[in-house]
Structure formats: structure tokens, C-alpha cells
């Protein structure tokens, strides 16, 4: 089975990236490593923004974010994600939607 590259998909999209101001943040890296067994954000995010690291922590890069809200909903038991919309004018800008 071939690996699906989400990056190729996201490459088609238009983003206005707010450099160094991620609109979503993981509150406590240790919670991901110690209290979250399945780490669902790493496979539910449609833009693959979350990746599991070798040390058990989770790395988040929001550049390709589609602003869907899935990660916030899925992490609500742990409440470990601080989720905001990007500043006005930044983020995904759909040409077709």
C-alpha cells in the first residue's frame, strides 16, 4: 500500500501563514506523552498537523491547518489543546471551498 502524502494535497491550497504565531497550541507536552495513550490528533487531523515523536511527545505544525476543529473536539477529555482561529486574514484561504 502506498503512503498517502497529505503534503501533496495541501500544496494545492492557498495559505496566508502567520509566521511564528501558531493559532493552535499544545498546552502541556507531558500530557500527550503520559496521559494520552492513542494520541488521536496524530491520525484524525485531515492536514496531518500533529506527528508523534520518538520521545512520546507530539509535535504540532499549524501551517497546513484547515481550521476544521477536529483536534479540539477530539482532545476535549484531556483539554490539552488551546484552539483559536488565526488572526483576521491569515490561515487557509479557500479558492473553491
Amino acid at each position: 500500500m502506498s503512503i498517502i502524502k497529505v503534503e501533496d494535497k495541501l500544496y494545492q491550497n492557498r495559505y496566508i501563514v502567520d509566521e511564528n504565531r501558531p493559532h493552535i497550541q499544545i498546552k502541556d507536552a507531558d500530557v500527550c506523552a503520559t496521559q494520552c495513550k492513542t494520541q488521536p490528533c496524530t491520525f484524525c487531523c485531515p492536514a496531518n498537523c500533529y506527528s508523534a515523536e520518538e520521545d512520546g511527545k507530539v509535535n504540532l505544525v499549524t501551517d497546513g491547518c484547515l481550521e476544521c476543529g477536529t483536534c479540539r473536539v477530539i482532545c476535549q477529555d484531556n483539554g490539552n489543546i488551546s484552539w483559536n482561529y488565526p488572526r483576521g486574514g491569515y490561515g487557509i484561504s479557500y479558492k473553491f471551498g
Partner: protein, 433 residues
């Protein structure tokens, strides 16, 4: 001095545009705030637009709205591993002068709609994110704070049309977080393709269009549906499942989409297209029981933000437009009567929802979301069994029909007991009644 408006509308999707347009047309001083570059830049939908809801707001919309194709055929397909069984309904009567359903490309449609809002006299500000509601000591909403410098604005009433995530209402504690089983994540792509290929593959001409709603094997047993819609020069293909199921099954949304695109009956329909965008969005699927409190002192919530979506019939934008219009009409009526937009008076908005198809339809299907969730067989075993049954019936191989029928019946009972089958039929019939 902080500027004050009769009403502030947060968001410029179908519900926000309908609200702002209706208010401005009535001569009210309206501010609409959108966080994207333009109306539509943050919005995602399949998309099918139902004419009726828009006609009630802009009767002559057909003159210049960016419509793709009017729908003359609706297909509902249950996919097996390499097959489908389903129904197609095509009628020439859908080629009337005023067709009732169109495929649209949302960002273009929303932009057009928002232009109408401006023409009607509303002040529209884009690239501005509303961060919170402003409330007085008694909790009454009197405006919003934005991420602009000196970004405070006041109004008699704030209409929240900020979409499914409804951050403003949640931050104000008007709503709880969406439970994962009440919301679906959908991903989709738009494939640009030669219109001649669309005409040939879907047997359409001119602006005729076909929409296919898909269930079955492609959702990997999860509660969800997929779709394939024809636009003028493109196809949109997408798939969505409940977040709770994604979480449990560990399947990535993009894998699901790739599997759908590669399914033997889907692939030939989309072949030769060029993907120009990949989108993801949440859909409120909790139904009637998940509709939150939708008004209070100085505020109303409309559209997806109020969970107004009919998952059973794949309708959302018409509920959004209608709820936006109702919220606006409520403000207009109260103003005429000189009544303040406090909760007791804004209850009129809820009454309008209750008395219309918006909440009547949701109420009718109030038990459906739960049943679907409790009964994964609707999304796994049944599509499989039906495809198998069709295969057996249509394969001429010397086996007599009676034996075939028995085999089919047995296959159903084997996968699900007779009582299970009867129970499912009963539950489904009741939920759809």
C-alpha cells in the same frame, strides 16, 4: 467613541449573509465581520444549494448568482468492495425554468452573496477575527471584541453566524463543546476536468447536473457518507464520518478519501481530472437533540453555529439561510414594535424556527443520529449484503432462483439475527416516520 450599530453579524457564510442582507434591506445599520480574506474563503460545502431558501431572500438570484449545474438526477449508491447497488432518479421536470437544486462552488457563491449584502447597505469588514462577546454586569451582550487595534464595536444585538465551531457561543458558555459523536469530519477535493467528459460520463447536456450520495464499504464501517457532485468544469468528491468513529478506528480521513477515489466504480468517473484544492470541515450531525439554546439577552445564534443541519437529508445551507433570515426578521419586527432585544423578546426567533421546516424536520428525525451510531451494520454489513444479493440474483449460472433467494436470506440472517434485522427495520422506520 466606540461605534454602535443596530446589529452585528459575525461571519459571512450562508446564514450570516442571509441575516445581514435581510437587516440591511430593511434599512437597519448593520456591521458584518468576516475573518477570511473574503466571504467564502473559510467556508466548505459539497455543495448543493436549494433554491427555495434563497428565493425567499433574493427572489431573482438566478440572474447573476454563480450557479454550476442544476440537478436533474439524484443517485444514492451503496458501495460494496467492487460494486454498487442503488437508486437513480432522473426527471426532465427538473429542467424547469426555475430548477430547485443547483451545485455550487461555495467560495464563489458566498462572495456573490456577500456582494449583495454590501449593495443592500451593510458595512462588511473582512480579515477581522471576532475574539469574544462584550457583556455587561447582567450578562447582556452589547457588542464584540475583534483582533483589530481598538477593535471594540457595540450593537443592540449580535447574531453569531460563525460556523460549526461556534467559538463565541462556547467561550461565553452559551454552548458546551461538541461531543465527538455529534459531529462529522468531512474531507473533499475539487477535480477540474473537461466538461465534455462530464457530459459523456454522466449523460448530461448544457447545465444539467448529477449528484451521487454514497454509503457503504468506503467508510470502513464507520458512520458516514460520501458524495460526488458535478459542477460546470469540475467534480467535487468527498467523504465524511463521525469524529468519534475516526478516533476509534484509527483511519485517517485522507486515506478514506483516497480509497473512495480508487474504488472501481468511482475511479472511471473522475479519471483525467486535475486536483486543485483539498478541504476539510466539520458538519453538525447531532440533530434536534443537539440544538443548543439559540438566543439570549442581546444575542442569537444561526446556521451551523446553532447546529441546524439535517444530516438525514444532507441539508444544511437551506437551514442556515432560513435561520439567518428568521433572526434578522426577529430584529426588524422587535424594532418596529419598539421592543428591546432581550431574551424574552428574542424568543420570537425560536418560535419562527419551531414553526418552520427547520426545526420541524430536525424534530422528525430526532432519533436518527443515535440509531445510526448504535447500529454500525447500516454502514458495513448491509451494503455488503445487498451488493452480494444483487450479484447472486444477476449472475446466471444454472442455480434456480428459489435456491438463490434462500442463500440470500441466509446470508442476511447469518450476519445479523432475524430479530436484529426486524429490530433495525423497525428502528429505522420509526426514525424516518
Amino acid at each position: 467613541m466606540v461605534e454602535k450599530f443596530d446589529a452585528i453579524v459575525v461571519g459571512a457564510g450562508p446564514s450570516g449573509n442571509s441575516a445581514a442582507y435581510t437587516l440591511a434591506k430593511a434599512g437597519l445599520k448593520v456591521l458584518q465581520i468576516e475573518r477570511g480574506e473574503y466571504s467564502g474563503s473559510k467556508n466548505v460545502q459539497g455543495a448543493i444549494m436549494y433554491a427555495d431558501a434563497l428565493e425567499k431572500i433574493i427572489p431573482d438570484f438566478r440572474e447573476d448568482a454563480p450557479l454550476e449545474r442544476h440537478v436533474i438526477e439524484q443517485r444514492i449508491w451503496l458501495l460494496g468492495d467492487d460494486s454498487y447497488i442503488g437508486t437513480n432518479y432522473r426527471s426532465d421536470s427538473f429542467n424547469s425554468e426555475k430548477p430547485n437544486r443547483y451545485t455550487i462552488i461555495r467560495s464563489q457563491f458566498d462572495r456573490w452573496f456577500n456582494e449583495k449584502v454590501r449593495e443592500a447597505g451593510a458595512l462588511v469588514i473582512c480579515e477581522t477575527t471576532v475574539t469574544e462577546l462584550l457583556r455587561d454586569a447582567n450578562g447582556k451582550v452589547y457588542g464584540v471584541r475583534t483582533d483589530r487595534v481598538n477593535g471594540e464595536v457595540h450593537a443592540d444585538v449580535v447574531i453569531m453566524a460563525d460556523g460549526v465551531n461556534a467559538l463565541l457561543a462556547r467561550r461565553a458558555d452559551f454552548q458546551k463543546e461538541l461531543p465527538p459523536e455529534n459531529v462529522a469530519l468531512a474531507v473533499k477535493e475539487i477535480h477540474f476536468i473537461d466538461p465534455a467528459l462530464i457530459e459523456q460520463r454522466f449523460q448530461v447536456k448544457d447545465d444539467e447536473g448529477v449528484v451521487i450520495e454514497i454509503m457503504g464499504k468506503v467508510t470502513g464501517g464507520m458512520v458516514g457518507t460520501a458524495f460526488l457532485y458535478t459542477n460546470k468544469e469540475s467534480l467535487t468528491i468527498g467523504i465524511g464520518c463521525l469524529i468519534s468513529d475516526f478516533k476509534e478506528k484509527g483511519i485517517t480521513p485522507y486515506k478514506l478519501l483516497e480509497d473512495l477515489k480508487n474504488h472501481p466504480v468511482i475511479k472511471p468517473l473522475i479519471e483525467g481530472g486535475e486536483v486543485k484544492e483539498y478541504a476539510g470541515h466539520l458538519i453538525p450531525e447531532g440533530g434536534y437533540k443537539a440544538v443548543p439554546q439559540c438566543y439570549g439577552d442581546g444575542w442569537m445564534v444561526v446556521g451551523d453555529a446553532a447546529h441546524l443541519n439535517n444530516a438525514a437529508h444532507r441539508e444544511g445551507s437551506n437551514l442556515a439561510m432560513t435561520s439567518g433570515r428568521f433572526a434578522a426578521e426577529t430584529v426588524i419586527e422587535l424594532k418596529k414594535l419598539g421592543k428591546a432585544p432581550v431574551a424574552s423578546n428574542l424568543a420570537l426567533y425560536k418560535k419562527k424556527l419551531d414553526d418552520s421546516f427547520v426545526l420541524k424536520d430536525l424534530k422528525k428525525y430526532r432519533n436518527l443520529p443515535g440509531i445510526m451510531h448504535m447500529s454500525p451494520q447500516f454502514f458495513g454489513a448491509y451494503p455488503d449484503l445487498l451488493n452480494g444479493a444483487a450479484h447472486d440474483l444477476f449472475t446466471v449460472d444454472g442455480v434456480d432462483k428459489k435456491t438463490k433467494e434462500n442463500k440470500i436470506l441466509k446470508s442476511f440472517v447469518k450476519r445479523r439475527s432475524v430479530f436484529g434485522l426486524m429490530g433495525d427495520a423497525f428502528k429505522l422506520a420509526r426514525a424516518f416516520r
